[in-house]
Symmetry: C2
Subunit: 338 residues, 2 copies
């Protein structure tokens, strides 16, 4: 059973999950990459994954081929969905069972198709799948946060290179999201405006950091970007929840992602990147924290795209203090022209 | 001139410093590694670095060979030491000039000597150099934080493989240190004991996470380790400041580091790692923040050693929420036996 442990000084929860590595020695060599003949995410190999939770299919039946998007539990989950929290002290420390969900959104049947190579309608289908899973999982009162992310690594071929998103439901709110929520609330209390509203207006006024703009979304390089070519995909409509998007908005988001990732791929020769959806914690968590009232107005869901073009140095790991060697305005200009 | 920019939502300061890469395209290929014949950190090549700030030498004269430890300004500094802060608004955002110091502590004249291969006395000499630089830089009222760290990367050969520490003086306190200071202060207010005191006692009582113990230091795998084989080097004497160590304590620290890094090297076949000194901000920063009173009792300086044996996934970058696949007690046992 994985467990969650809390750092006594900073209140940061960490997942200790040994599912994927039984012994310390296993860390000496990288995991073996399955080739496309034996990929559990490819059509025909549905039996290699746990039974599907959601699928969009044009033909066939559940857990067989014919799907366009398929969502399954992670075969090696970082957190376990069965059981109670069992919160307890361990000496002066705090722990609880590693209860949560860990799912895989296989966003294409094509082993070699990158997100930006898919049609806008197909990208939207996967985003709809994500939305459906959020709508389902948020009713589980054990979960405080539902995290959707995508790791894209074409260079080293780590883990499964078949395109997919991951969804992790956790019983704690991640620290960096707490910082964003607290910052957004404080700003709203001071200004009576959402900080995301102000950022949107400032970016439109400046223009220099904009990479893409449509009726629904603004894509820009944040003013204080931590990483070269860091991107923020910000909806123009105020809502704390990713799952509040209607079908038209999901299509707009799919379009924004496609254009942005094509430009990123051209500018940096298809870099490794991480995509993270920052959405509000579940309302259960919010009622507990007293943030329920203002949340609808102050926090706005958004997506961060973090290209990994530079090595992150030790002091950045240890301090959360980043040196970015590319001026965001130059990165944006480079992406606009790509 | 590098600049510092503040994230409007989280108040996180970022250094935008383009000294090392003039154009975005430069990120497509890794920097070229100098061989040992042409290493600016090797004896005989002193002219390739800026003039030295401090040195321990057995013979010769300043900026010539004969030194055992040599401290020089970084030739490509992330921050610039000359100039004023020039704090100003940029639309709704905040910025200031990238004022600071960036120094290199070359801890051995031997191009191929790793820290743990040096004698305890030699390691202590480099730590004394670090202390001397802290004592000098803390009088500069522009600096709020003095950060000492060491990146060790034997595998990919990134940047300069000749062993060295780095010191960065910044006009802002890093976010993660702020979180540690706030957590330590809150704990002290509630318990009238230092959280570091309680952790030390708990670790001694449990014993399962201890890797090394001497009269002066405890080395252990933290209860809520973020990374496999993460290590904390904690002094037994309460002091917020690394630079408060006397010569005997510096020798004890050198001994603790040597033993720990030898064991880490044996257990994981000389992994890449980052070493970070967490010491209190300068007193100038503290007077401003109102933390001056309790600091001496609640915060304790310590060192984190973060081996990089697993790839950090996207959601960890974006959320500060970590999955650690190795149980800290098992990591400690493995290191004790190595």
């Amino acid at each position: 059973m994985p467990e969650l442990r809390k750092d006594l000084i900073t209140d940061r929860w960490v997942i200790i999950s040994t599912e994927r590595a039984k012994r310390p020695q296993d860390f000496r060599s990288p995991p073996i990459e399955p080739d496309s003949n034996n990929c559990p995410f490819c059509p025909g190999n549905e039996g290699q994954t746990p039974p599907e939770l959601w699928a969009a299919r044009e033909r066939g039946h559940a857990n067989g081929p014919g799907w366009k998007v398929r969502i399954v539990p992670n075969k090696f989950p970082a957190l376990r969905v069965e059981g109670g929290m069992n919160r307890e002290a361990e000496g002066i420390y705090d722990r609880m069972n590693g209860i949560g969900a860990h799912e895989v959104i296989i966003d294409t049947p094509d082993h070699k198709s990158a997100l930006e190579e898919q049609s806008v309608e197909h990208i939207a289908l996967a985003l709809t799948g994500c939305k459906e899973r959020l709508l389902d999982l948020r009713h589980d009162n054990r979960f405080r946060y539902l995290l959707i992310f995508k790791n894209v690594d074409r260079t080293t071929g780590a883990s499964l290179s078949h395109s997919h998103y991951q969804l992790i439901a956790t019983p704690v709110t991640p620290l960096s999201l707490k910082a964003k929520l607290a910052g957004a609330r404080e700003y709203f209390e001071r200004k009576d405006r959402s900080v995301f509203h102000d950022i949107l207006r400032q970016e439109q006024r400046d223009g220099t950091r904009i990479v893409f703009e449509s009726d629904g979304f603004l894509v820009f390089c944040p003013y204080a970007s931590r990483f070269p070519f860091e991107l923020c995909v910000l909806p123009k409509r105020q809502s704390p929840d990713f799952h509040s998007m209607d079908q038209a908005e999901i299509l707009q988001l799919a379009d924004a992602l496609k254009v942005t990732l094509i430009r990123l791929g051209r500018a940096l020769e298809r870099p490794q990147y991480n995509l993270i959806v920052h959405t509000a914690p579940t309302r259960f968590a919010h009622r507990r924290s007293g943030l329920w009232d203002t949340l609808d107005h102050d926090f706005r869901w958004h997506i961060e795209i973090l290209p990994r073009v530079t090595e992150v140095a030790g002091f950045e790991w240890g301090t959360g203090f980043f040196i970015n060697p590319v001026v965001p305005e130059q990165a944006a200009a480079h992406l606009r022209e790509a």
